[in-house]
């Protein structure tokens, strides 16, 4: 069968057009989140947020259409590396996600070697900063900013002694160590520094130790699964001082697990939908599409996806060097979680932490 010359030419032209132009083409974005295991609900929430953002961008038109490829990291470093490798070989142009810091750290090199821009929307251990090969951008304020906010509050309340409790994982230990250093540098005493095991239900020995140390406040730096029972046991054990939790414990689940003990508990939170003036549209759309309310990192991940699309648009394509340059220079003002721009070390240029307090079973902004 002879191939007519003009159809060969047409075919060649078509190939050239499809091959070279990323403008107007389908852009695949990798999503690295835990969709299995204990943190699956948060990971799924982030994947949903990406999908929602993509649907809106695609509907608005303007050239590029996006689709997502989800890689499950199961909150485990080795599974994360496998997932990252799979994503890299799936023809993606960029990656978004990262929930568990411990699992995200080893993937940085993989995405770095593949020269893929990586927008990290939840993981925020400060250990991510030195491990960043230069392609990752963190839009959730790191432990440094969280501790700075915490110190503001603790100084204002005149706390002299603090007890810090973490779970021995990369994120909570990082936050706990930073808090310890800042608090002692500022002249306070850390009366007690404890590590508990994830899933171990009995905190009585630690609670008794804390009571004996009688600090002005207790700071829980880990997740809500154990945070809830811990707070409950603290109060039942008779501790009456202030209780603070970090941003890993700010989901609504804390109230279910801690019950009445969560009343009056303070938290440092990345902005969740209830506190964002512009987030109502997002919440409603999310609820309509997925039949469930968005969780803690939905807004940030949604913003991250929109930021990425914006950067790709500004870079005129998916060339990673150009996209990364566009991200570095970003001054994104349409984020529902606030403005996004980056410091030289690729962390968010402003602290996005707010202080909230538990009242009547939900969080409200604290004064």
């Amino acid at each position: 069968m002879r191939l007519p010359a003009n159809s060969a030419l047409a075919g060649l032209t078509l190939a050239l057009v499809l091959g070279t132009a990323s403008y107007g083409a389908d852009i695949k974005i990798g999503v690295l989140v835990p969709t299995t295991g204990g943190q699956a609900t948060y990971g799924q929430d982030m994947a949903n947020a990406v999908q929602l953002a993509m649907d809106e961008i695609n509907k608005a038109g303007g050239g590029n259409t996006y689709s997502s490829v989800v890689g499950d990291d199961g909150c485990d470093p080795q599974a994360a590396v496998n997932a990252a490798t799979k994503l890299v070989s799936s023809g993606i142009s960029a990656v978004i996600g990262g929930y568990c810091s411990g699992a995200t750290i080893p993937t940085l090199k993989i995405f770095g070697d593949a020269k893929l821009p990586f927008i990290i929307t939840a993981a925020n251990s400060t250990k991510l900063i030195p491990a960043n090969p230069g392609n990752a951008f963190m839009i959730n304020s790191t432990g440094n900013d969280q501790v700075a906010k915490a110190m503001e509050v603790w100084k204002a309340k005149g706390f002299k002694s603090l007890a810090i409790v973490n779970e021995g994982d990369a994120y909570s230990q990082d936050l706990a160590t930073l808090a310890q250093k800042s608090f002692t540098d500022a002249g306070g005493t850390v009366a007690d520094f404890e590590t508990v095991n994830h899933g171990e239900q009995d905190f009585s020995a630690v609670v008794t130790k804390i009571k004996a140390a009688a600090p002005d406040a207790v700071f829980w730096t880990a997740y809500d699964d154990d945070g809830g029972p811990f707070i409950k046991q603290l109060r039942e054990g008779g501790y009456q001082g202030a209780i603070f939790v970090g941003d890993g414990s700010t989901s609504a689940n804390l109230f279910k697990l801690a019950g009445d003990a969560a009343e009056g508990v303070f938290a440092f939170s990345s902005p969740t939908a209830e506190f964002l003036p512009n987030a109502k549209a997002f919440s409603d759309a999310y609820q309509a599409k997925f039949n469930v309310a968005p969780s803690s990192y939905g807004p940030l991940t949604y913003d991250g996806m929109k930021l990425l699309a914006d950067a790709i648009g500004k870079a005129g394509g998916t060339d990673s060097a150009k996209v990364m340059a566009a991200l570095q220079a970003a001054d994104y003002k349409d984020g529902i979680a606030g403005e996004i721009s980056f410091r030289p070390d690729h962390t968010l240029a402003r602290s996005n932490f707010v202080v909230v307090v538990g009242k009547g079973g939900t969080w409200t902004l604290a004064q």
Binding site: T35, T36, I105, S125, A131
Partner: protein, 330 residues
């Protein structure tokens, strides 16, 4: 007792390493061809199957090395070790600390890693290897946890975040850095591991392990120092673990306590028992099943671990001696 041609297999003192396949591959020529084909297949696999498959196969080869080491402890010497990840950790952290904090060259650090694992093996094995196997199980489990928690708590091991930025080594001008580089490194290590295991199984030490495993008291009566023989197995297993850990560290460039948990130890044990305890090809098959299983089932999402667990259960119920054909009659 020499093996006469034609003797019933149930009388074999040293069963063939090929197990049940020995019936098909009954001449050295056939076995040679099988080995060459397999090696050729493994050599071209990265090019044929792409980067993702390369990484997963590298993982499988790592598990194969560790399974071979654990096979010596569990399969040859009959010691129930529930904390094998401890040696893996010692190897990985030795490399991590020496190369990152002290700037050592990787190759110079390897002997130190091996020595550290040997010391660990002696320290924990010495007082406990005379215990009954069930007690030994909990002691090895405890030791695994002690190593993990220590790594989590100490500054020098990077605490819970671990060690990052481990430099990848150079060998005579070849920078071992890409996933393909590591694939071939692990393939070579696996082949070396197999050769060492085979030689061990045929050596006097290997026979001593066999006797001790079958009847400790009779072996003792024959003049075999039971504890010394078990300790030898434990230490050799530790060396395998340390080498696996060392190369694991430079492959991933970031290590943290999460990779050295009890779950990891049980995965190694699963690989050994699933494939066919004591049989080298079985153990390697087990390693591949344990690594490839969850990856192949990735599309099932949340269900994949459940499917894997049920599959594992079914395999154990229907083939308790492992997947690899044994060829022996009960």
């Amino acid at each position: 007792m020499a093996l006469q041609p034609g003797s019933p297999k149930s009388l074999e003192v040293r069963p063939s390493a090929w197990g049940g396949l020995a019936t098909i591959l009954d001449t050295p020529q056939k076995r040679g061809v099988a080995i060459v084909l397999l090696l050729a297949f493994m050599a071209v696999a990265p090019i044929a199957f792409g980067p993702y498959a390369t990484v997963i196969l590298t993982n499988a080869l790592l598990y194969a090395i560790l399974a071979l080491g654990l096979n010596i402890v569990v399969g040859y010497a009959g010691l129930l070790d529930l904390g094998y990840a401890a040696f893996f950790a010692v190897g990985a952290y030795s490399i991590g600390i020496l190369t990152t904090t002290y700037g050592w060259n990787f190759w110079a650090a390897i002997p130190v890693a091996v020595l550290a694992a040997v010391l660990a093996g002696i320290i924990i094995g010495g007082p406990t290897l005379r215990l009954r196997s069930d007690y030994l199980a909990i002691v090895t489990l405890g030791f695994g946890e002690i190593v993990r928690i220590t790594a989590r708590n100490l500054e020098i091991t990077g605490r819970a975040s671990g060690i990052i930025g481990i430099e990848q080594p150079w060998l005579f001008g070849w920078h071992i850095a890409t996933s393909r580089d590591f694939y071939y490194v692990f393939l070579i290590l696996t082949v070396i591991g197999i050769l060492v295991s085979v030689r061990l199984s045929r050596s006097r030490l290997g026979r001593a392990w066999l006797y001790v495993r079958h009847d400790e008291d009779a072996a003792e009566a024959m003049g075999i120092n039971r504890v010394r023989v078990k300790l030898a197995a434990y230490i050799i297993g530790a060396i395998y673990g340390a080498i696996g850990g060392a190369f694991f560290a430079v492959n991933f460039t970031a290590i943290s306590p999460q990779s050295f948990s009890f779950q990891q130890s049980t995965l190694f044990l699963m690989a050994v028992v699933l494939g066919g305890m004591g049989k080298i090809p079985g153990v390697i098959l087990g390693a591949f099943v344990v690594v490839l299983g969850p990856e192949l089932l990735r599309d099932l999402g949340s269900f994949r671990y459940l499917v894997f667990a049920v599959g594992l259960l079914l395999i154990m119920l229907f083939r308790p001696s492992g997947i690899w054909p044994t060829g022996s009659r009960r």
